[in-house]
């Protein structure tokens, strides 16, 4: 055996070194990711049905769609956070397997989650380092400083994370992803709950990353930011992709694909309108939720059906919860019902709140339909197995619930859970507050729900509901309040406004009304 010449050895060594250095700096110089026919089922629920998508290096690809269209699920599949049911993912034309997020991280796929998945009680530096291969606070602190300078972010390494704003936590997470070598960057609704300046900083950071060859996926339902940032956009609806566009975008076409607009229907039937006040907010502020409430003043009178529109977390939920006295306003006053019948005891039983997360907030898992009805009604002091069974049977018939009086609430399907919630509304209720009343329901159940609600609504009461579905609001509400960032951006009778105006207001494109 002959030994290779020393200079040959040295050159081989340098070659090896070069390969090493090259691959460490830039493992996938031009990363292209392609999703082919992705399906994802959660039990019987089809979250994704055949999604195909290609994202090119050096571009920002927008994905838009209304709530529940499957955008977040698709992205979680791409990061290995959840497993796809079927379909394949190609990275630079090679099929990859993603069993855990670790696989995705090693391939250079990283995601900025909508709710930052970080560690609130640890310091900024700890958060920056968590999950890294090596532990070297000094070096990492320097890297953090360098990255912050590059993007124009400002943060102290020792600050505990819970003192940071959502926007700052996001900046930190972005820097961490860049540091661990992310070449395919996914952002899920990154601008919700952050300030305008932070948004500007984020956008310029994203642009500079794009220019370096990153493939960036921006999940959003704000068309403005998609307009400002993206090179192309895909529109998702009900678990599949319904359209693609290149810059410049046709906004109306996007909106139509997002919401699948039907011909304008006649607005809600005029109801008997009294001028008696049911609910009055005066300068109500709250810091709950992502955006809080910012000095909301609004008066709701008898006979009104109010639809609350807006992006998730723009203040609708907080508004409903304050109205339902589940939250206390931090400042400002709230008055329910007119002064003459304002006795706390009766007003409490006259108000009812139906939450969106039915099983976690509205119903009691492990308790039967009969027991729910017993609790909601005037509960008798003594209860026998037969008590309330007749009533439960009647309610099951009347509300077409598929189940028996002994069926547990968590054994019901989503639609039937909603029917049960409706059956729980006491007959004397005058103020009905609902969060997304048709969430997860098919068209038929949704129609049935509304028919029932409008039939049941007393003339001396009012109904307020939040919905991500503009059609639902236009169809059933007599008045619409559009929330944006904790403020009411549009307050109008549904007959005086239209689909376009509302959807523009949702994305923040109207100057605040006085």
């Amino acid at each position: 055996m002959t030994l290779p010449a020393p200079d040959y050895c040295i050159s081989l060594f340098f070659l090896f070194l070069q390969v090493q250095l090259f691959s460490r700096n830039d493992p996938f110089p031009f990363t292209m990711i392609e999703l082919i026919d992705i399906h994802k089922y959660f039990g019987d629920v089809k979250a994704l049905t055949g999604v195909s998508l290609q994202v090119n290096p050096g571009s920002i690809h927008g994905i838009v769609g209304e709530n529940g269209a499957g955008k977040t699920t698709l992205m979680k599949v791409l990061t290995g956070y959840i497993h796809r049911t079927s379909g394949s993912i190609l990275l630079n034309n090679e099929e990859i397997t993603l069993h855990t997020p670790m696989d995705a991280i090693q391939l250079g796929i990283g995601m900025l989650y909508q709710e930052p998945l970080d560690f609130l009680q640890l310091s900024v530096l700890d958060n920056f380092m968590a999950g890294n291969e090596r532990f070297s606070p000094e070096t990492m602190s320097r890297i953090l400083e360098k990255l912050s300078k590059r993007f124009g972010f400002e943060m102290q390494p020792d600050t505990p994370l819970h003192l940071l704003t959502v926007g700052e936590r996001q900046q930190l997470e972005l820097m961490r992803l860049i540091h661990v070598g992310t070449r395919v960057l996914i952002l899920d609704e990154p601008t919700t709950g952050i300030s305008d300046e932070q948004q500007e900083l984020l956008f310029s950071a994203l642009r500079s990353l794009r220019d370096e060859g990153c493939a960036i996926i921006l999940v959003s339902h704000k068309l403005d930011e998609v307009d400002a940032l993206c090179d192309q956009v895909s529109i998702m609806r009900k678990g599949t992709i319904v359209g693609h566009q290149q810059q410049p975008f046709n906004r109306n076409a996007i909106l139509q694909a997002m919401f699948d607009t039907l011909p304008q229907k006649e607005t809600a039937p005029a109801r008997h309108q009294g001028n008696k006040e049911i609910l009055k907010f005066t300068h109500v502020c709250s810091s709950n939720g992502r955006s809080g409430l910012d000095r909301i003043s609004v008066t709701i009178t008898q006979g009104e059906v109010i639809g609350l529109a807006g992006l998730d977390g723009s203040g609708q939920t907080v508004f409903l919860r304050i109205a339902g006295k589940l939250l206390e306003p931090e400042s400002g006053t709230l008055q329910r019902f007119a002064a003459e019948d304002n006795e706390s005891d009766s007003t409490d039983s006259q108000t009812v709140f139906l939450p969106a997360d039915r099983l976690n907030e509205g119903l009691i898992p492990g308790m039967s339909i009969r027991e729910h009805l017993l609790l909601a009604d005037e509960t008798p002091l003594v209860i026998f197995p037969e008590t309330g069974r007749q009533k439960a049977k009647q309610a099951i018939d009347k509300f077409s619930i598929i189940g028996t009086p002994d069926t547990a609430a968590d054994g019901l399907s989503g639609g039937n859970q909603q029917r049960l919630l409706l059956a729980l509304i006491p007959t004397q209720a005058r103020l009905i507050l609902m969060e997304n009343p048709t969430r997860g329901l098919d068209v038929q159940s949704g129609n049935w729900t509304w028919q029932h609600l409008l039939d049941q609504m007393p003339d001396n009461g009012a109904m307020i509901f939040a919905s991500p579905d503009l059609e639902e609001i236009l169809d059933h509400a007599s008045r619409v309040l559009v929330f944006f960032d904790g403020k009411i951006l549009l307050d109008s009778a549904t007959s005086d406004t239209d689909f376009d105006e509302i959807s523009q207001a949702i994305t923040g494109r109207i100057k605040a009304c006085s």
């Binding site: 990061t79 956070y81 959840i82 497993h83 855990t100 997020p101 670790m102 991280i105 090693q106 995601m111 989650y113 998945l117 970080d118 560690f119 609130l120 009680q121 640890l122 700890d126 380092m129 968590a130 999950g131 890294n132 090596r134 532990f135 606070p137």
Partner: protein, 318 residues
């Protein structure tokens, strides 16, 4: 009295040693987001296995090893049913407490009140002769030295190593760890087991050093609950937990002192007094959190820590 201060301080250091092991073991476990409620029983069981093994082999070191393995086994049962099968960690820990306690008495009864090996003080040559500090710090058995060493070691591990950072992250947000490629359940299992080993060492420290011998009662009953309380008292921070353990040791020694000063008061009072005192301190710390506006309370609030956010919750990955 002046002469005895150093003797007393040495006593505090020695009696607190097992408590340091137990409380720091539980700190490690809880930092990873798992509650190991089985402490009281696990300490007894490992005290028994430690003593019996040491007696059988004639040497204390296999005893310590056996005790650590015992504590680890109990922790594995807890993590198996609690973390992987998703049952309430409190329920499993509680059942284990009593199972271990009775198992210790049952298996250990043939060895009850029999002589066995024990650790003796090993003065460190030069240092032990130092005035005042010498007898306090450098005239103890190895397990006491180990307890001194464990405190800074654990602190360093938790706050200055990659694994320590992973440990703290898992206790805060398992989902976040999962997203960053750290398997939360496996990590929790490992640290519960490590914490269990420390708890086991605490047991052996009793039966082979601090209260040598085995019997019913052994004398370390109730210590597990105190260790649990200490973790909260110390705000899940190893240094403060250790401080709490020394305060408790001091209260125990003070009990013996007061007994001599006030012979009229029954000695049993002084024996149990540290327990409620400790718990009361805890209550005050808790109450202080709700009233952060008054300055008097703010000082106490400084002492209080926040529990790991995911403590006791079972994480389901997908």
């Amino acid at each position: 009295m002046d002469v005895s201060v150093s003797v007393l301080a040495a006593g505090v250091a020695a009696t607190s040693a097992p408590l340091i092991f137990a409380a720091l073991g539980e700190t490690l476990t809880e930092k990873a987001g798992v509650i190991n409620l089985s402490l009281d029983g696990a300490i007894l069981l490992s005290a028994m296995t430690g003593f019996v093994t040491a007696k059988a082999t004639g040497s204390v070191w296999p005893g310590f090893a056996a005790a650590a393995v015992t504590g680890m086994t109990v922790a594995f049962v807890l993590s198996g049913i609690g973390i992987w099968l998703g049952q309430s960690q409190v329920a499993v820990g509680f059942a284990l407490t009593f199972l271990c306690r009775d198992l210790a008495y049952f298996l250990g009864s043939p060895y009850s009140r029999t002589p066995g090996p024990q650790l003796l003080a090993v003065p460190i040559p030069v240092l032990a002769d130092l005035p005042f500090i010498g007898p306090i710090l450098f005239n103890h058995s190895q397990i006491v030295y180990a307890s001194f060493a464990l405190i800074p070691l654990l602190w360093y591990f938790m706050f200055n190593s990659r694994q320590g950072l992973i440990l703290r992250s898992v206790g805060e947000n398992p989902e976040g760890c999962w997203a960053r490629g750290i398997p939360p359940k496996r990590t929790q299992t490992i640290y519960t087991a490590l914490g269990g080993a420390l708890i086991g060492l605490a047991g052996a420290a009793y039966s082979l050093a601090v209260k040598p011998g085995w019997g019913r009662p052994q004398g370390c009953e109730g210590i597990g609950w105190i260790a649990l309380a200490l973790v909260i008292f110390g705000g899940w921070h190893p240094l403060r937990v250790a401080l709490g353990a020394y305060i408790f040791g001091m209260l125990q020694i003070a009990g013996i002192l007061f007994q001599e000063i006030f012979p009229a008061i029954p000695s049993q009072i002084f024996q149990v007094a540290p327990f409620p005192l400790m718990i009361f301190a805890l209550v005050i710390i808790h109450l202080s959190r709700n009233k952060k506006d008054t300055t008097g309370f703010r000082i106490i609030a400084l002492l209080s820590g926040t529990p790991p956010m995911a403590l006791g919750k079972t994480h389901e990955q997908e």
